[in-house]
């Protein structure tokens, strides 16, 4: 009887214990969820994707425009041309508004990360907390420098004070670059964590510097740094195009025509070296992990490269088109117009080669006729040998357009001008021959040797560009003018080329950013922290293109708003110049 009673007591106490264990009252400590509740309607992944991408576009703008501003201010100081100084100031004014938008989007991004992906954020912040504090602190320095740079513009206008002011511009870029490098460390760690970091490694045990300076950190840093300058220039050009089309006076039209030219010059000039940086990044990704490299270049993401080739082909065509039309407003430019059709032929053929897919989209009959997805004749154009050759020749052609533009209204006075010009032509011809040689020879050597050839092609093109432009500076010393450039006398259709440039650049940033991020597939941190949400599958390319297009539209609308606000702060002062000559 007594035993039965004790059994009852023990049973009741045990039941209460179990109840306590499984009830919220029994919880002694709070353990955060791995994921927050899925974001309404579009899901957590799309939400964070759109906000991160738009933030990134703004970040590229606010980091790219100071580069643009500091270069144009320097041209203004040392070229003694006040127009460049005004241009620099006009764009720094826009930065003030754009900074707020960048910070707001950054804050939104952070909140979404904390609420939707708390475990991932906790993991990253455990490893990178010190760099996060420094990152936030740098914003204070950056903001303070920006305010001094803008509001001190008219105060520190001449002499040493002006040089000091320019130094502030440099400092602004230093802060911006430091911010960029820190954020890049976090995202590249997610892509290429050090090999000794495994799913079992506690974040506190991860060595900070090896996580920070991981395998793809520096290639991303360089690639983004260059791309930001390109982006800044293209936005300036698009802004100028918009103002050109809206201009009511010849003076205004001349000013914005000139501004569009400068923006385009910087965007395309810097863009010419961007493929080389991208190539380095791609190579590092492949070297870090073959699987990731193949997913990017040969697997699921390979179609994005066809889209990318198409868009970059559009960039080349639009940039050259703008320059060729521009020859019409330069006295002496007409003597170069007869060459443009041959240059166009090189660009179109290069475009076709570059965008030819290795495995083609074909129906059943077409596949049967080809004997598979590889075309027996055009298949050779699908390999990197052909594509590298095409893009290098397109770069050289674009450079030649700039050279023609530069020389259009000048008559050299040095005695060796003809020899110098022939030497320039010879350098370009030899470089083209070398690029072609490596392109063809690449088909007869092992793949690993062929990959090395693209480095030689790149080095030859870079050397030729530098040598030809260096030679040109000497040839055109004390050159006579054929007459002033007729700024403003540009057909309106030329301005749409500048819009095409900015839309294409923005779209490319989104698309290729998706490729870089998407090759992690179902990993938050590659082979360390797995994505276990319903959104873990890599999105289909069509869906990705839609999300990216939304990001591009949102960004362009917001940047248009920034321009509008910027226009309300102060009207730009126009500084007409009777003899504006492209910068040497």
């Amino acid at each position: 009887m007594r035993t039965t009673r004790w059994m009852w007591v023990a049973g009741i106490l045990g039941g209460l214990g179990l109840l306590a264990l499984f009830s919220p009252l029994g919880a002694q400590t709070y353990s955060p969820p791995t994921y927050g509740e899925d974001f309404p309607l579009i899901g957590s992944r799309a939400a964070i994707w759109i906000v991160a991408q738009t933030h990134l576009m703004f970040a590229a703008f606010v980091l790219g425009v100071p580069m643009f501003a500091v270069v144009t201010e320097a041209i203004g100081i040392w070229g003694k041309d006040e127009r460049y100084d005004r241009l620099s100031k006009e764009f720094t004014r826009l930065l003030l508004v754009a900074y707020s938008a960048t910070a707001l989007l950054g804050g939104l991004f952070l909140f979404l990360l904390v609420t939707l992906y708390p475990a991932l954020f906790s993991y990253l912040s455990e490893i990178f907390k010190v760099s996060m504090w420094i990152y936030a602190a740098l914003f204070f320095f950056e903001s303070a420098t920006l305010y001094m740079y803008y509001y001190g513009w008219d105060r520190w206008k001449t002499g040493r004070a002006k040089l000091g002011h320019w130094g502030l511009g440099i400092l602004l870029n230093v802060w911006g670059t430091a911010v960029l490098f820190i954020a890049n460390a976090w995202l590249t760690f997610m892509m290429s964590p050090p090999s000794d970091v495994t799913p079992d490694t506690a974040p506190a045990m991860v060595q900070f510097w090896s996580a920070f300076a991981n395998a793809t950190w520096m290639p991303i840093n360089i690639h983004r740094l260059i791309a930001n300058a390109v982006f800044g220039g293209s936005i300036v050009a698009a802004y100028a195009a918009y103002r050109f089309l809206k201009a009511k006076s010849d003076e205004e039209r001349a000013h914005y025509d000139w501004m569009g030219y400068v923006g385009n010059l910087i965007a395309i000039g810097v863009f010419l070296v961007l493929p080389f940086a991208g190539y380095w990044l791609g190579r590092e990704i492949y070297e870090y992990n073959q699987q990731m490299g193949i997913t990017m270049m040969g697997g699921f993401m390979s179609w994005l490269w066809i889209v990318q080739a198409f868009l970059i082909g559009v960039l080349f065509l639009a940039a050259n088109y703008y320059l060729w039309i521009g020859l019409g407003r330069i006295p002496g430019g007409e003597r170069f117009s007869r060459y443009t059709k041959w240059m166009l032929a090189v660009l179109v053929i290069g475009f076709i080669v570059w965008a030819t897919p290795h495995s083609m989209i074909a129906d059943r009959d077409e596949l049967a006729a080809m004997g598979g997805t590889h075309h027996p004749f055009l298949g050779v154009l699908g390999l990197m040998s052909a594509k590298n050759t095409a893009v290098n020749l397109m770069i050289l052609t674009t450079f030649l357009s700039f050279l023609m533009y530069r020389r259009a209204n000048k008559i050299p006075t040095v005695s060796w001008a003809k020899t110098g010009t022939i030497t320039q032509g010879g350098l370009l011809a030899v470089c083209s021959a070398v690029v072609l040689f490596y392109g063809v020879y690449g088909y007869f050597v092992p793949t690993i040797t062929r990959i090395g050839f693209s480095v030689y092609q790149v080095l030859w093109v870079l050397f030729t560009i530098l040598a030809v432009i260096g030679l040109d500076l000497f040839i055109m010393r004390r050159a006579e003018s054929r007459g002033p450039i007729r700024w403003g006398q540009m057909p309106e259709r030329s301005q749409y080329a500048l819009f095409i440039l900015v839309v294409t650049f923005t779209w490319l940033m989104g698309l290729m950013g998706f490729a870089r991020s998407g090759i992690r597939q179902h990993w938050h941190v590659w082979e360390v922290m797995r994505d276990t949400t319903e959104h873990a599958a890599t999105p289909a390319l069509g869906y990705a293109a839609q999300v990216i297009s939304v990001c591009v539209i949102v960004f362009l609308l917001m940047i248009a708003f920034v321009f509008w606000i910027g226009g309300m702060i102060a009207k730009p002062q126009l500084v007409p110049d009777p003899e504006p000559v492209p910068a040497d």
């Binding site: 019409g328 077409e366 049967a368 080809m370 598979g372 050779v380 092992p446 890599t538």
Partner: protein, 256 residues
């Protein structure tokens, strides 16, 4: 008319189309190079590029642009060209309607699809109960200098198991090849296995179509998983044989 940019533009466009439609498939075979018709998707891509190029050419010079627009403008405004205007007014919507109809009408052919020919390999695979890490892996026959042995063994294996589909010449044209869609992969040339490391080819042989990754599914591949029929050594041997017989070198790992 010969010097008029409008007619020059039309001529260039037609010439480019003839080149893409008939030149590419039929001219190379005349000099002994194999070719095939260009798939519609690529033909469209090429012709669009040519069209953009032509539009750039006619409009990058003010005088040329004005001359180019002349015939178009004449058709649009001149009273004596009324019949032509009306003809275009009828023909263009009809053309658009026909293209729309042709695009949406039900067809019996399978829809075209994107296919990744080189899906990414996993970091490691399990064959015969043994875990093999593919990253940095070399063909043991090649690493140990046992090429002759691998070639002899691989040759036997290839002709017993692979030739019927991949062909005597390793060109993907075996006896059974045309029973499959897509066709078996040609192993010669620079476009397929020449771009891949031997560990990748080993993975494909071992796991076959069934072992293709989830990325990019659904897959169309009738390739058997040869791990069920061959030993690890035999699969390495046939991998070695493929490269030797095709006269190409495998992709090697970069020095770190």
């Amino acid at each position: 008319m010969r010097d008029h940019p409008f007619w020059q533009a039309i001529l260039v466009f037609i010439a480019a189309w003839i080149l893409v439609r008939w030149g590419i498939p039929y001219v190379p075979p005349l000099v002994g190079i194999s070719s095939a018709p260009v798939p519609t998707s690529v033909e469209l891509q090429y012709m669009l590029t040519v069209l953009v190029g032509i539009l750039i050419w006619v409009s990058d010079n003010e005088v040329r642009w004005k001359r180019f627009k002349e015939p178009i403008r004449n058709v649009m405004v001149q009273p004596e060209r009324k019949w032509m205007r009306v003809a275009f007014l009828v023909a263009i919507p009809l053309l658009v309607a026909f293209v729309t109809y042709d695009t949406v009408r039900p067809k019996v052919t399978a829809p075209v699809g994107l296919r990744s020919v080189h899906p990414a390999n996993p970091t490691s695979i399990t064959v015969d109960g043994e875990s093999i890490i593919l990253e940095g892996l070399e063909n043991p026959f090649r690493a140990e200098g046992r090429g002759d042995e691998a070639y002899a063994l691989g040759l036997d294996i290839y002709y017993q198991n692979c030739m019927a589909c991949h062909g005597d010449y390793l060109d993907g044209q075996g006896h059974y090849a045309h029973g499959y869609n897509p066709l078996p992969l040609p192993l010669r040339g620079g476009g397929t296995i020449a771009q891949l490391t031997e560990s990748y080819v080993f993975w494909r042989i071992a796991k076959g179509g069934a072992g293709l990754p989830r990325e990019g599914q659904p897959w169309n591949s009738a390739m058997p998983a040869w791990e069920d029929f061959l030993t690890v050594e035999e699969m390495w041997a046939v991998t070695y044989f493929l490269y030797e017989q095709a006269g190409i070198s495998p992709r090697t790992w970069e020095e770190h």
